[in-house]
Symmetry: C2
Subunit: 320 residues, 2 copies
């Protein structure tokens, strides 16, 4: 049995060590990574992926901890992928948080992985998608992806989820931030956390009116108040998640899945193409003089790319 076969077997058996190893390989995004994904792919598509985003300090991680505990009580296994640099899962935030997370990670039914942007060669978004596949194949019932709501990348990553939860803390700043970061468009459920703070109700009202603006959505986003620290409102949140899941499973889920598969396929094709051709060009030493030309401003990348490709295709035709 090859190393990869062993690893895949371990993943399918839900072994933490194999899962962790596989995700590391995926972050380095090489031949091996693709072999793994190919091998586990038939076993994916069962997990329900929940995206949780919001400004740093809105209490996402504490909320996740409470959600996970509930899911575990219901006998569900959970995978957590944290892409939020300020998250305790990724080693950020306060010691207290981190200790709570460690307790969580001791549970055999919970797998926590933080994706460090700087480590993922193929790009963070791709590494995250593939990590989700590994956890999916490992039989996790729920996969939670945590990102911080700043920057397009973070927002995009949440889109790999079926249900997107936007977590805000009371205070006008957050809502502004959320709108700027494009969170209003992506949220299926909005959580006003730290609801014991004053003007929490104000925040709810502001949020609802902001949501009014975007009417073309078929699903009417819900707004829920929580106090993550005490767990207040978490049951309501889980109910909302299940409602949204039912709504999706009534039809939209299939469409979402299809669109994602298409995107993945096109991405894979582009990647493969680029890799092969660029490798060829490098061995043929065709690049150096062209780079020179561009450096001297005699031409530009786009024009050169066009010329190269025309040549390439001609070559292909003349071959054999």
């Amino acid at each position: 049995m090859t190393e990869i076969e062993k690893l895949v077997q371990g993943i399918l058996a839900g072994e933490k060590k194999s899962i962790a190893r596989a995700i590391t390989i995926i972050e380095n995004n090489g031949q091996k990574a693709q072999k793994i994904i190919s091998a586990i792919y038939p076993h994916t598509g069962k997990a329900y992926v929940i995206g949780i985003t919001g400004p740093a300090g809105s209490g996402k991680s504490t909320l996740i901890e409470k959600i996970v505990k509930k899911l575990r009580e219901n006998g569900k296994s959970v995978g957590i992928v944290a892409v939020d640099p300020t998250s305790p899962f990724t080693g950020g935030a306060f010691l207290g948080d981190r200790i709570r997370m460690q307790n969580l990670s001791l549970d055999e039914g919970v797998f926590i992985r933080s994706m460090a942007s700087r480590n993922s060669l193929g790009g963070l978004a791709k590494a995250t998608k593939d990590a989700i596949k590994v956890l999916d194949a490992a039989g996790k019932d729920y996969i939670i992806v945590e990102t911080v709501g700043a920057g397009q990348l973070e927002v995009d990553i949440v889109k790999v989820a079926y249900t997107v939860i936007v977590v805000l803390a009371p205070g006008f700043g957050d809502e502004i931030q959320a709108i700027k970061a494009g969170l209003m468009e992506i949220g299926d459920i909005f959580v006003i956390n730290k609801a014991d703070r004053e003007n929490a109700d104000r925040a709810v009202i502001d949020l609802l009116s902001a949501l009014e603006l975007n009417t073309e959505k078929k699903w009417k986003p819900q707004v829920i108040k929580t106090i993550a620290l005490t767990g207040e409102g978490v049951d309501e949140l889980l109910k909302a998640i299940e409602e949204h899941r039912k709504y999706l499973e009534a039809g939209e889920l299939e469409r979402k899945r299809r669109k994602r598969v298409e995107a993945e396929l096109l991405e894979a094709i582009s990647q493969r193409l680029a890799d092969t051709i660029i490798a060829e060009l490098k061995t043929e030493k065709t690049l150096e003089p062209l780079i020179e030309k561009i450096m001297n401003r005699e031409s530009d990348p786009y024009t050169i790319a066009d010329i190269l490709l025309k040549k390439k295709i001609k070559l292909e035709k003349e071959k054999k």
Copy 2:
């Protein structure tokens, strides 16, 4: 004269309207965009690009305003590209800030553009790079790129700069953030802004010791205290920028430029390839059944991509 030719002429003449129009076209990243870049490319490579990043609220924008004023006093023209969603340039932050920025933008020698992530189809990083080219071709002496130091994308964008300035405000949190976001590695100059706050000196010391860790760098990053609001320390900052520029121009700049040109070329090639092949596949209606196969978990994107490309190349060979 075609529309594009007129536009390019306007850019080269430094006309604000043409510059603005061109950047909008670039954000929509189509054929037109590439024609524009190709046309202006020979006129690029003169501007000096400065990247400014740091946590939200560290005072980047106020600092930029002061830097720009100084550069203008020295008769330099300036382009500003703001990718920071919390920046007053992008419409964030407080009214007072925004008014100051508007005054700045009234200056004929200053062009301010905010890149809204959600608007750039080809990806924010590419749109930003191309916007810099437009401002470069428009004859700006300095181009300042502002991003918020959170998320890999933002950090990467700053790397299009020659001199990267990391702006922090006193307080331990910021440094932690900076380290997490990978800012320590990318900064050529570190600014402790709001230096009138207590423990500013403490922050400087923490920063210096954090910088000690990374020794392989040939350029020793400088740490400068500023009070952006009063303009204190801005002269020192400009001096540091010029020092770093001289250091780069002694050799490294050429290497940086070459590496970037190579990256741009490879990117352009991949893009072109993907576009052509995927367009073909779609017209050939080959995709639908394949997506079906993946949906049914009979295969996976990577395997299908491989098969497709092998077919494709065989086809090319058999053609003619």
